[in-house]
Symmetry: C2
């Protein structure tokens, strides 16, 4: 996607071919800084410090981390060491383990002298696969937005939005969380690039403000019209008919279609259901956990640090980045990071294989049929 | 209620009888500062600058403002001037106009030499009426919390909450918004003071953070156990059975029971309904607008400044109060300040006259029967 008119990905090989470059996401939205990463150790630090974040991007970054290690020392010992070091950076990220296992399995069987070049090809492949998967999500979601635009044009309501498709999204499931295109925002970029008038309501997404910091920034850079709102505002906007559809990403989908995603997603799904607004979940195949019958009450919810609620970081008028405390001293805080939206509130999933209701989802992935049947029978 | 073990109200006469003193709410939660207000002009500034805020407190503060003016100059011209100056401070606050009209009507018919003393008595009366009305809300709401505590004790679930009644609240409808006791928090204080184990989940209430700044502070000072959460977290907590009831205040109730309150209230009402959690609205009689048939789509929703979403103010580790921007420069923002919760999501209203479902509410206020019938027939 574009940054100030220039196409970027979140991770790429440096022009001299000697290092990997990434957008430093800890500096957004206040500064656009490219970070050059020349060693596996530096890549592990970049993942741990959330210089790169978002499950798909972390997977690609880890694969490039293995390449950097193998380039310098392709021994079995070095391979084992880099695998362990990278896996330890973000223990709960499913894509991280998947990417590392994929690269490790392929490299182990190669003679050490071939590992450097192979590792780079594998990392490139993982990155490209993410891009093409997300592009497919965009292509599959685009007709949903086109249908809204056509309906609004037909209605010729004469309202002030002139057929604009109003999408509400929560958190950041945009291109910054992936190598390119994003998941939930892929259909938005596809629509915008196809000339469809689209506008995004961006939940600020407390407590980490990924909507305010990342989604607003990436939409702004690519030129997609958007408006940031407090997380509290979405229900009211839906009630007033100012949201045409909700589009969110997911961390994990159960076999029955229950959706784990950033805390607060469930509230937006309830409002969408109450107001007759379609609620879509962009779910790449790997995010569906076919071994899990149902998600509500079953998916463990990470409790994160109180400081995320207690403190807010931003830019002062002088341009400094400062952190301030918004609570009385010693106030107890709870900070569940995710919630689970019941499948009954999900209109459809947008996947790289097409659009499907929760009930239709297993038919898109027949290779998991046995698993899904088993899980659903148990559940 | 208590501050560090000492009983306080939000507004009182100074011990020398020559001025009014208030808690400076713009300094909370980071500093507890008492502000002495000796002139009507200073009172108008205190209301406009939100040194005092909350509809019931503003009403009492305005009445004391009239007293300060009359003490210095009890002429008709001075009475007209102070009425206009105070009314202009917060044009949308219904209680402000009601308090000013009450005081003005009583003073106009008096000879100027009697106005000073009468104005003070009227202001005292308005403050006392608020306190007794809120105490009645607390008394009427208390049995709802007692019933939960008994049910939990009977169930002897052996859970880790040992019969604690978990209340979720949004924004600040506590004693800081009134002269004492609060509205939504009145039953909580009544329960706590009666020895009932009660714990409050406090929504931080973006964008102005009244929950984080005010509700957490006042509960902490009075010793009521509480936990601050991001506004996004409430649905998840209800889904997990960790909320026994929701208690909120209101800015305006329509005759059919639709409830206008701080933005985000509607989302919590939806979650409560979905999870089978009772949703109570503390509604003093004056907050019910019997001329309005229905609230959804009818109550005008104030759009407030973008800076409230764009910026966050808090305390640095050095102890300075600083404001930081959390958005990319020039990001568009929308900031609707209230939403309307449909009556179908309201379990009951807690009023100074008792507890009533939306359908039962008109029977509690027979003096408005004609108005309500007319409004509902039109609506």
């Amino acid at each position: 996607m574009n940054i100030q008119g220039t196409a970027f990905r979140t991770i790429w090989l440096s022009t001299d071919g000697a290092a990997v470059e990434v957008i430093d996401q800890t500096r957004l939205p206040h500064a656009f800084v490219i970070r050059r990463i020349g060693t596996a150790r530096a890549m592990a630090e970049a993942i741990a410090d959330m210089v790169v974040r978002g499950a798909p991007l972390i997977g690609a970054a880890a694969a490039y981390g293995v390449w950097l290690a193998m380039r310098d020392d392709p021994s079995d010992a070095a391979l084992d060491a880099v695998y362990a070091a990278l896996l330890a950076t973000r223990p709960t990220a499913v894509n991280l383990r998947w990417a590392l296992d994929t690269v490790d399995a392929a490299l182990t069987v190669l003679a050490p002298e071939h590992r450097g070049r192979a590792a780079r090809m594998l990392a490139d492949g993982i990155a490209e696969e993410d891009v093409s998967q997300n592009r497919a999500l965009g292509d599959n979601g685009l007709p949903l937005l086109q249908a809204v635009a056509e309906r609004k044009r037909d209605a010729r309501t004469g309202g002030d939005d002139r057929g604009v498709v109003n999408v509400l999204t929560h958190c950041n499931a945009g291109w910054l969380a992936t190598v390119d295109w994003g998941t939930a925002l892929a259909p938005v970029y596809a629509a915008h690039d196809a000339g469809l008038p689209v506008h995004v309501w961006v939940d600020e997404t407390r407590p980490r403000n990924q909507g305010a910091a990342l989604t607003a920034w990436e939409l702004g850079q690519h030129g997609v019209p958007h408006t940031v709102i407090a997380d509290n505002a979405g229900g009211h906007l839906m009630q007033e008919g100012r949201v045409d559809l909700v589009l969110v990403g997911t961390d994990r989908v159960a076999a029955n279609g229950d959706v784990a995603n950033k805390i607060g997603t469930y509230l937006k799904a309830l409002a969408a259901h109450d107001c007759g607004v379609p609620f879509y979940v962009a779910a790449p195949g790997p995010s569906i956990d076919w071994t899990l019958a149902a998600g509500v009450g079953a998916i463990p919810i990470e409790e994160r640090a109180a400081a995320e609620v207690r403190e807010v970081t931003g830019r002062t008028t002088a341009g400094d980045i400062r952190t301030v405390t918004i609570l009385p001293a010693d106030t107890p805080v709870a900070n569940p990071a995710f919630d689970v939206t019941p499948a009954r509130l999900v209109t459809a999933f947008i996947t790289e294989r097409g659009v499907a209701t929760p009930a239709e989802l297993p038919a898109l992935y027949p290779e998991h049929d046995g698993q899904a049947d088993e899980a659903l029978a148990e559940g």
